[in-house]
């Protein structure tokens, strides 16, 4: 099995470049030299504020959200041995947004700023736990995906119920934002609240990722080589739930990027789930930073939502991947 050695450093460099490019964009025209000066502490206070407090946090938020979804997608795909598994498809993002919206709707967020990320993470964990229980009971990955689709629809229905009961169109639009996903106006405050969970979840996935490679042999063979299946499931579910929940707390539900990135990466890492985790995270982060640049440059009256653009690009690719599979297996 070959691994392209340039892959991880290449993606990291491209991501850094994309984040810098995102810093060039904004309502105030700032030339690249002023941005560079501001980034490295020179320039005047205004420029530094614009770059460090407005543009950089937004780009970083897009990158972190993408990375969390990418690594969760790659890990879930490894665990379920299905290239269509992803937090969005499996209803994890939808449950997380539902829980976040619920906490907002009932004013729980006023108790502590930590309530929102924690609610999103509880929502994500509830969905992933349900999926994991189902995964123990059924060997059919198709059934699992269908359970995920059901979960996603149910969360969507509960979300619609909350919107139906919304007291005014402004709280309605607030709720819709959770479903559409966006990194607009994100600051280091929100990043700081989501980051601990995001890092913990991703770290858990990376540490336990090696077991996923064994799983490619099939569950029996994996147990045969000494993999504790139960632990593997619990850690992967916990890691994906934490990372996805944190990403939803930061940006709402953004779908499909967790499918696309691992799908592109897989051939370059010899279809090894463990080795696809970091490159998938980097690529998904890069995709979202680029998509957010797109969102900001497309001259529509209302800025498009990042999640909308991600779904517009991602859903057709999802269908394409699903159709490819059919051609191979049936």
């Amino acid at each position: 099995m070959r691994q392209a050695h340039w892959l991880t450093p290449g993606l990291a460099a491209a991501s850094a470049l994309a984040i810098f490019a995102a810093c060039l964009l904004g309502s105030t025209p700032l030339p690249a030299d002023r941005i560079l000066a501001a980034l490295f502490g020179g320039a005047d206070t205004g420029d530094r504020l614009v770059v460090w407090s407005i543009r950089l946090p937004r780009a970083l938020a897009a990158f972190l959200v993408g990375a969390a979804l990418g690594v969760s997608g790659a890990a879930l795909q490894g665990l379920l041995r299905n290239p269509l598994a992803e937090p969005g498809v499996l209803g994890v993002s939808a449950s997380a947004s539902l829980a976040a919206t619920f906490s907002l709707y009932y004013g729980l967020v006023s108790l502590s700023p930590w309530i929102l990320p924690i609610a999103a993470i509880i929502g994500a964990l509830a969905a992933t736990a349900l999926l994991a229980i189902a995964a123990i009971r059924t060997s059919s990955v198709v059934t699992l995906i269908l359970i995920g689709v059901g979960l996603s629809s149910f969360s969507g229905a509960l979300m619609s119920l909350l919107m139906n009961l919304a007291p005014n169109p402004f709280s309605l639009s607030d709720m819709i934002n959770w479903m559409l996903g966006s990194v607009a106006n994100r600051s280091f405050n929100e990043i700081g609240l989501a980051l601990p969970f995001l890092v913990a979840g991703s770290a858990l996935l990376l540490v336990t990722g090696r077991g996923l490679s064994a799983l490619t042999l099939g569950e029996e063979a994996a147990s045969g080589v000494g993999l504790n299946l139960r632990h593997q499931r619990i850690f992967t579910v916990l890691g994906a739930g934490l990372a996805t929940g944190a990403s939803v707390a930061l940006a709402g539900a953004i779908g499909f990027v967790g499918i696309i990135a691992p799908h592109i990466i897989r051939p370059f890492v010899g279809h090894d789930p463990a080795r696809s985790l970091i490159p998938s995270a980097l690529l998904a982060g890069l995709i979202l930073v680029l998509a957010d640049i797109g969102v900001r440059t497309i001259p529509t009256d209302n800025e498009l939502k990042l999640g909308v653009v991600a779904a517009l690009l991602g859903a057709p690719i999802f269908i394409w991947i699903a159709m490819q599979r059919r051609a191979v297996h049936d």
């Binding site: 904004g26 309502s27 614009v50 106006n185």
Partner: protein, 280 residues
């Protein structure tokens, strides 16, 4: 609820022709008036005699209704066709209530409809100025003289406000971080109060976050912050630390939602509050 009503009102007004058309004859006074929404309620409660009013909308007593005190004890009706028809009104007053087909429906049923148009300017020549609108509705209610008196007092108060001109810039903002530039009644209001609008782009938009880093408005006009149901959007620019810091220091004039919703003669309360804020 307040924002809902305003939003619905905006939608409804966008759908209606701006001129509307009162069909009630001003000579014989309508005595069974039903008002379908809280924008219409304001005029009915202000201008009509109590014995002329059959029912107002359920929103008439809400916190965002300027004439809420006068609405206490007045029967209410939801703007549903059958509920209204059964009251046998001789005049239906509406701005958005009952939906876009309501005017055609009631006219088919033989009930004249007095359309309350959306105010688009403070006291200009064109249709949609608050005095013209007030007089149009007063005529329709058979209260021409009361309308003239209300317009007179509105113009006198406006003159007093205009006397104290200043060149201060003001940034209008709502809890959701929305502001507005030229082309809205709020912009007209700021100009009429002798202020310069800090927002230079046209129409409703979100706070100019990056510009706030370099420039501060002399005054922040905080509207609707009294509305309980109005919690800020999690993605709103108003939540951003930069916006919070930059908007914490300038003088803030708080405007009540009831002064602004619908935009009638009661906008004068907002204008006077702005004018006082400038004078300080």
């Amino acid at each position: 609820m307040l924002r809902l009503t305003v939003f619905v009102a905006l939608l409804a007004m966008a759908a209606c022709s701006p001129s509307g058309g009162g069909t009630a004859a001003p000579t014989d006074r309508p005595m069974r008036i039903v008002s379908l929404d809280f924008c219409a309620d304001q005029y009915v409660l202000k201008l009509a005699d109590a014995e002329q009013i059959l029912a107002v909308s359920p929103d008439a007593t809400k916190a965002f209704s300027y004439m809420r005190a006068s609405a206490v004890g007045v029967p209410t009706v939801r703007p549903k066709a059958e509920d209204v028809l059964i009251l046998k009104p001789d005049l239906v007053v509406r701005s958005y209530g009952g939906g876009p087909n309501a005017t055609a429906f009631f006219e088919r049923a033989g009930i004249p409809v007095l359309q309350v148009s959306w105010a688009t300017n403070i006291d200009g020549e064109e249709i949609g100025s608050i005095p013209l609108l007030t007089q149009h509705v007063a005529d329709g209610l058979g209260q021409t003289e009361r309308g003239r008196a209300l317009v007179r007092s509105f113009r006198n108060r406006l003159k007093a406000v205009r006397a104290g001109d200043s060149d201060d810039t003001a940034l209008y903002m709502t809890p959701a971080g929305v502001t507005t530039g030229a082309g809205s009644l709020v912009h007209e209001m700021l100009i009429a109060a002798g202020l310069q609008n800090f927002q230079d782009g046209r129409g409703w938009r979100s706070l100019p976050l990056e510009r706030l880093v370099y420039e501060q408005p002399d005054m922040v006009v905080a509207a609707y912050f009294d509305a309980r149901t109005n919690h800020p959007n999690a993605w709103s620019a108003a939540q951003h630390p930069v916006a919070r810091q930059q908007l914490a220091s300038p003088d803030t004039v708080a405007l009540q939602g009831a002064w602004l919703a619908c935009g009638g003669w009661y906008l004068m309360d907002a204008l006077e509050a702005l004018s006082e804020g400038t004078a300080q």
